[in-house]
Amino acid sequence: MSTETQSIEELAKREYKWGFTSNIEADTAPPGLNEGIVEFISAKKKEPKWLLDWRIKAYRKWTEMSEPNWAYVTHAPIDYQKISYYSAPKKKKQLNSLDEVDPEVKATFDKLGISLDEQKRLAGVVAVDAVLDSVSVATTFKGKLAEMGVIFCSFSEAVLEHGDLVKKYLGNVVPYSDNFFATLNSAVFSDGSFCYIPKGVRCPMELSTYFRINASNTGQFERTLIVAEEGAYVSYLEGCTAPMRDENQLHAAVVELLALDNAQIKYSTVQNWYPGDEEGRGGIYNFVTKRGKCAGVNSKISWTQVETGSAITWKYPSVVLQGDNSVGEFYSVALTNKRQQADTGTKMIHVGKNTRSTIVSKGISAGRGQNSYRGLVKVTKGAENARNFSQCDSMLIGDRCGAHTFPYIEVANPTATVEHEATTSKVGEDQIFYCNQRGIDTENAVSMIVNGFCKEIFNELPMEFAVEAQKLLGISLEGSVG
């Protein structure tokens, strides 16, 4: 079976389309990490005392922790003292309107296809809180959202303007001492998005943020916090591209979602950071902590992710199903090519009664990619009638890649019903033949088959995101999203 392997190999050799660097004067902290740097970051952002204390507490905890090594990935050791922990585009003056945005910044986003310009907004209903490196450059749609009481702004702005809310919810789902990377993030996080949906409000548009790693040698430490009050609904989109770099860049974000009674949060990600070159040089290390808590009854949190980029992806978007009748969902497509490594999956922690969770994970390995699903389904003693269904399918393209499954299932309640299924397969010769016979060339046939394989996941992506998902996936597997 060499034909489809060949076509995949060709695709794998494609240059990274979005690999450009923009020259924006950055206000960068010297490399290294100590309490002084933490204070520097906090001071730069004019943060209140409580947040500085929280950061320092996290930093001290971090110094006692050691880097975890259980994931099925290999990489050169990271020298945390060589990373610069703060970089912001220098503000020349206070921006009053979009016209004043640094033209180079604007051009960067234009190249990525983001419409910062409210007037000719193509995406129509998508509000973009654009994060260029660490500081939000501009936020749109604010006025419209404010009318409904929705707060959607950069994290730093939220700290200054909605300090009480941030203080109340920060670290509620992912405490500062959670794990090595989350703790590092808690100490040095630069910016991110804050989103608060008040009681009973259905957010009228898809909220979106765009992360972009820019200045070289700068770790990105975003912090995202989304709170959906009683009966609220929000759909949040996150998408990423990054310029080509030779040095590995560390990305350790934290995303916290909190859903109260009857609230719903839908979180979708398309990730296409620079995956490194043919030999795996360069590329982003994506070590992210994402967790949602269904704190209230009948609440629902849904994660959808399409992971095509990064040299190493290491993330487990999780849901703690605390409220009775709460629902957790995880839909994932992870594609590894070249020497990419992905160790990703989810955790569903069933605590409340009648809680339900669904996990559908599709892993595609090509080239020399290593793709692992690692998931935990835990049913605690009090979780009466918990229900879980998990499905993990892997597809291998070529004989130098690997697909691995590490599902952990822990059940401590007899009324629970937990099912896990996994399959591994390749693109069938007969399937290709069938397509060829009908005049579809092998490359398109592979794309079609892979697209069909992932369809369940793409269906979960919000409409507004589908276009982008197509663009980004096209880099790795042309036309796989039909």
């Binding site: 079976m1 050691s66 259980w70 049913v379 003693k381 892997s394 291998l396 393209i397 070529g398 004989d399 130098r400 890649c401 690997g402 697909a403 691995h404 499954t405 590490f406 599902p407 952990y408 299932i409 822990e410 059940v411 401590a412 309640n413 007899p414 009324t415 629970a416 019903t417 937990v418 099912e419 896990h420 299924e421 996994a422 399959t423 591994t424 397969s425 390749k426």
Partner: protein, 444 residues
Amino acid sequence: MKTVKEDAGAILKLFDAFEKECNGTRKSWVHELRQKARARAAELGIPTTKDEEWRYTNVAPLAKRAFTRPAPAKSLAVKDIAALLPPGLAEARLVFVDGRYTEALSNVGSLPKGVTLSSLHAALASDDKALRAHLAQYARQNDHPFVALNTAFLLDGAYLHVPKDVEVESPIHVLHIASGGEGQLAHPRNLFVVEAGAHATVLEHYAALAGGTYVTNTVTEVSLGEGAQLDHTKLQEEGAGATHIASIEARLAGKANFANHNVTLGGELTRNDINAVLDGEQVECTVNGFYIANGTQHVDNHTLVDHAKPHCHSYEIYKGVMDDTSNAVFNGKIFVHQDAQKTDAKQDNKHLLLSRDAEVQTKPQLQIYADDVKCTHGATVGQLDADAVFYMRSRGIGRAEALRILTFAFAEDVLKEIKHQAMRAWIASRVHERMAHTTGLKTR
């Protein structure tokens, strides 16, 4: 941070006394093996729950316990162990009491010519060539702390050698009896070698005379030649206070057919490591298991089916019935190497929970490096189907009876694969008896 291992000194300090017992073999190759293993065991220590392989099974307390080497067994007569002898399996039997061969209880009468069935101790004394070629070649004494300990204290166990193309029809019953005294620690070591084209059936059986807090740490090595067949059943009926740690390591040559049926009914803490290396093409490998646990029993099964070569098939079903506050751990790994194209591997793990306080931790793993393979695994945890119970009750079958029928049907998937009919029937009767003592199947 907690350490990943505890000191194994409490067990290893018995080594000097053990060495004295081995007098006469102290200059031999096997003693060299023991000494190397002893050094390795000291390095490996006793794993704690910080070690991923031992995450859910806490054996660390063993490091703190005081152990004695079993005293020479008191004399037993065949009638004393009659309940442990399956009808129809009397033709070939090796009996070990506290890890030592007991000739009076054994019977190696009528086996085909060329077949060696003896105690390992006797085979070592006669310097059996095949034994030397196979012993400690497959077990992971360099990696697994308890295999290292077993190898350090290697002394006796069952040894079977079936030469090329010989078919042994009658099943071989290997019975390890523990006298069950407090703090006793035995290290039985078995080796089953079935050469090319040969066939054999083995029942490896662990039982006890008393329910003290003793420890059995056993290792079984299996080697199948080209086209060889072995139907291997392990039945564990240790005493109520026992810790049973077992490793089975099988190396399978091309076209070999290996079936392992691992039935766990006794013991307080059980840990099985069952590894099969499919080291030739067209191997058929079945790794099945069934367990019932109640009280505070803890049953941990780790299996590894290692597809090293192409065109092999493996099948795995593990099923557990958990009652009271018992705890089950299942970790089944299928590993497919880069060259092992056309592999077909299936794995299934199912648990029935009968009580509110029983717990299950299951982790079915796939690690796959070849693209042209079919691998599936599934895991479920749940209760008996309420509709099925209702159906039976509506036809006049009492609730307890219905539960027992359905639970036995659940077990049957595993038991029906045992090829020898009399053995299968007898093991089914042991499972029935065990179910009769399971409260979750009586009252609710």
